[in-house]
Symmetry: C2
Subunit: 457 residues, 2 copies
């Protein structure tokens, strides 16, 4: 007799039944036999909390959950989590606090494992929740919080566990990557593609959470915490979005052998930086050398490039958000906990949320943006008049910046013309000085565009 | 007080101290604090078996293991595993049977977790060892057996656990990928590059294990077993290597928008195939569309493309063989078991070797090569004389094969000339029929080259 015939089912309470919650219920139903065989026991949603009972039950019926064993409905998620006879909780309500936080706390206080896709919650309250999990000998699963279609949390916390991680670089927001891919391939400017992405459902009607880099920042924060064993610290992140990028930048990037991507960058001791053990945490658009695998990641896909001291570079690519990859990731955590739950006290052996226990989290110094050392792309828009290039060259010289390439295409005399410079590595502070200096030149007809060039080392 | 101050160390016996064994000892020493924090306890090699004691002790000294606590030396690995006071065993002796098998059996019979990089052992004796692990409530770790630099076993068995896997496609042998990359980028033919790879240490002096596809076959066998929950079956695999590929094929592939790669392919119900639930298992050189991420994987790297029914496509790339990635993977398994071992009976909750218990392994029908349906590349070498193309076209028509493209470059009249055809999807059996028919044509001056074109769907 196989184990899952004899082991009791793993009973789940599902808090939230929106797109992701519905996806979880559907997937768990469709692949229930397969999942049971792999988990060593059946996994059953016994309790559900959602705002609208009729809608919730309708959705469950639509996803053809076993009608002979309907889950118990709760209107109050915290009450459900406090009282239901369950073995674990999935939270897919969302929000950095509020009900989601209350559900998390209540779950952990009961000593039950907590599975969530809620990056905002963990980026904000992760340390307190990790502490609570330790105190109550239970665990938190968050594979779905970052790039659901890629088991990157598992890769960082488990697969690469023997490595000192030196950098994590990710395309973490599908909306931004869709927009940038389309700007490049179709030569259309940002506002037009944004409108299209909104129509296609790839961007929200208020897109700022995605395009200003906040979503990427939450995800990077969690990846960095796990990679470096540090407390997530949203305030330590310098965040830039993609609003100011133009199709011109995409075109020049391509001409120079790069792709323009919005990246989350978590790097130990920025190359050439002053500090030797600091961490650089950034979300920013950057030029990626086209021969790096991350350069070819187009459309709504996510990707992560990890460097470890033993393993070297490893690269991961897959779907990011959306009901299906998120549901897949949620259930990978659930199966982990269902298996650990087969053994008395087994959850004790689950990974700590950030890879190490809270008492052992590092507090590495954060390298301020101006101290980051790298190569740069600077696009200037100038009126073509005598002495302009000389003035620009002087500004670079005055700030100790060494040019690598200059690109200026043929144009009509007297017109404004883009001049694109790339530099050898220097401090961001130096480049900011250059930007201030050249902005004051009378020939400058538009705001300069300064972008980082990612090293391929 | 943190857990790893109070938990007993996890004591490892290391069987074998060659390149990989030395790498494990070195990595465990270098990152010991980090690994201890993440494992929740110290991990210590307390016992070592190797043929030559002086050499072993020299190597350990060189890797600067703590000289105050030297591991105990055993000349007989099976005796060590039977008698040493340990919590787990790492086997890096190698070989599909012999001492490695005896060490595995002895370890599992003692109820201890067994970690190995030995793909040949598991592809051959995996089911019996998995059974033994179940009987003795312990576990087998083999992340290092396939693509050590990529946590692909963890991705398949854990990260994608909620998915019905539909295909696994891998570049699993760095030697072959190095050779094919160089043939393409430098336009050099196989024998010359092989010699170079041997000089660089990328290929063995007897290279057949790599270049004839055997190594890839072992790895694919394990990946397929985990993806589909089936017993590994080396006999079910149709294996072709890269010996017969020429730089001409690399050049034509590129001209047609493909890259030539040696792939391991495990696919459910080959596209358009007769069977609806069979599995196709192949190692073979194939033309990969250049827009697929796996096409850009060059040099000695490994890569795996997985398709799941919920998650869609996910892609993994990293280093394959070599001491460092293998040591990293070995220690990821060790940390898994060290954590599970924190709890009494915790190893019970470890994953079964092939994802499900032996009693629940599937026995899917294997689709024979001739029934595989796909598109094809056929390179013919013909004497340019009247009627040749008509004869070839007749052979295709007679076997019901529909052409997609024909390429014949300018040449001197009367010379032998390559004619390269690509087809629309058809059964491999049809194409073999075409090859037999055209081989009999008097104008054919060399053996036809038939290669699969990988679909990008």
């Amino acid at each position: 007799m196989s184990k899952n015939d004899t082991s009791p089912p793993f009973r789940i309470a599902l808090a939230g039944l929106g797109v992701v919650g519905g996806g979880v219920a559907k997937l768990l139903h469709r692949n229930r036999d397969l999942i049971a065989a792999r988990a060593g026991r059946a996994i059953v949603i016994t309790d559900i909390a959602a705002r609208d009972q009729a809608k919730a039950m309708g959705m469950l019926a639509e996803h053809s959950l076993d009608p002979s064993r309907p889950p118990r409905y709760w209107s109050d998620a915290t009450e459900m989590v406090a009282r239901a006879d369950i073995d674990g909780v999935i939270e897919v309500i969302g929000g950095a606090g509020g009900i989601a936080l209350a559900v998390a706390e209540q779950t952990l206080r009961r000593g039950l494992p907590f599975v969530t896709a809620n990056k905002a919650l963990l980026a904000t309250h992760g340390v307190a929740l990790a502490q609570l999990a330790e105190q109550h000998h239970t665990a938190i699963g968050c594979e779905a919080a970052v790039a659901g279609g890629i088991p990157i949390i598992k890769a960082l916390r488990e697969g690469l566990v023997a490595n000192r991680i030196t950098s994590v670089i990710g395309i973490l927001n599908g909306t931004c990557n869709y927009i940038l891919s389309a700007m490049r391939s179709r030569g259309i400017d940002f506002p037009e593609i944004l409108k299209e992405a909104q129509n296609l459902g790839y961007a929200e009607s208020d897109p700022s959470f995605d395009i200003d880099g906040t979503d990427s920042a939450h995800k990077l924060c969690l990846l960095a915490a796990m990679a470096f064993g540090m407390a997530p610290n949203l305030n330590a992140l310098a965040v830039e979005g993609i609003r100011n990028l133009t199709k011109l930048d995409c075109q020049y990037a391509e001409e120079l052998g790069f792709r323009l991507k919005l990246l989350g960058l978590a790097e130990r001791a920025a190359p050439g930086g002053a500090s030797d053990d600091g961490i650089s945490l950034r979300v920013l658009p950057a030029l990626v050398p086209e021969n790096m695998p991350i350069a070819s990641v187009d459309g709504v896909l996510n990707a992560v490039l990890v460097r470890g001291d033993e393993v070297g570079m490893s690269f991961y690519q897959g779907r990011g958000a959306g009901a299906e990859p998120t549901a897949s990731a949620v259930l990978s955590d659930v199966v982990d906990f269902a298996r650990l739950g087969l053994v008395n006290g087994g959850l004790e052996s689950a990974r700590p949320l950030f890879g190490v226990r809270v008492a052992e989290l590092n507090h590495p110094p954060i390298i301020p943006p101006q101290d980051y050392v790298g190569a740069w792309y600077l696009r200037l828009t100038v009126r073509d008049q005598p002495g302009v290039i000389a003035d620009i060259a002087s500004a670079l010289r005055d700030h100790g910046v060494s040019l690598e390439t200059v690109t200026q295409h043929r144009h009509h005399p007297g017109e404004s013309v883009p001049v694109v410079l790339t530099t050898h590595p220097c401090r961001e502070g130096q480049m900011r000085g250059v930007v201030t200096a050249v902005s004051a030149l009378p020939a400058m007809t538009a705001k300069p565009q300064l972008l980082r060039i990612l090293g391929d080392a």
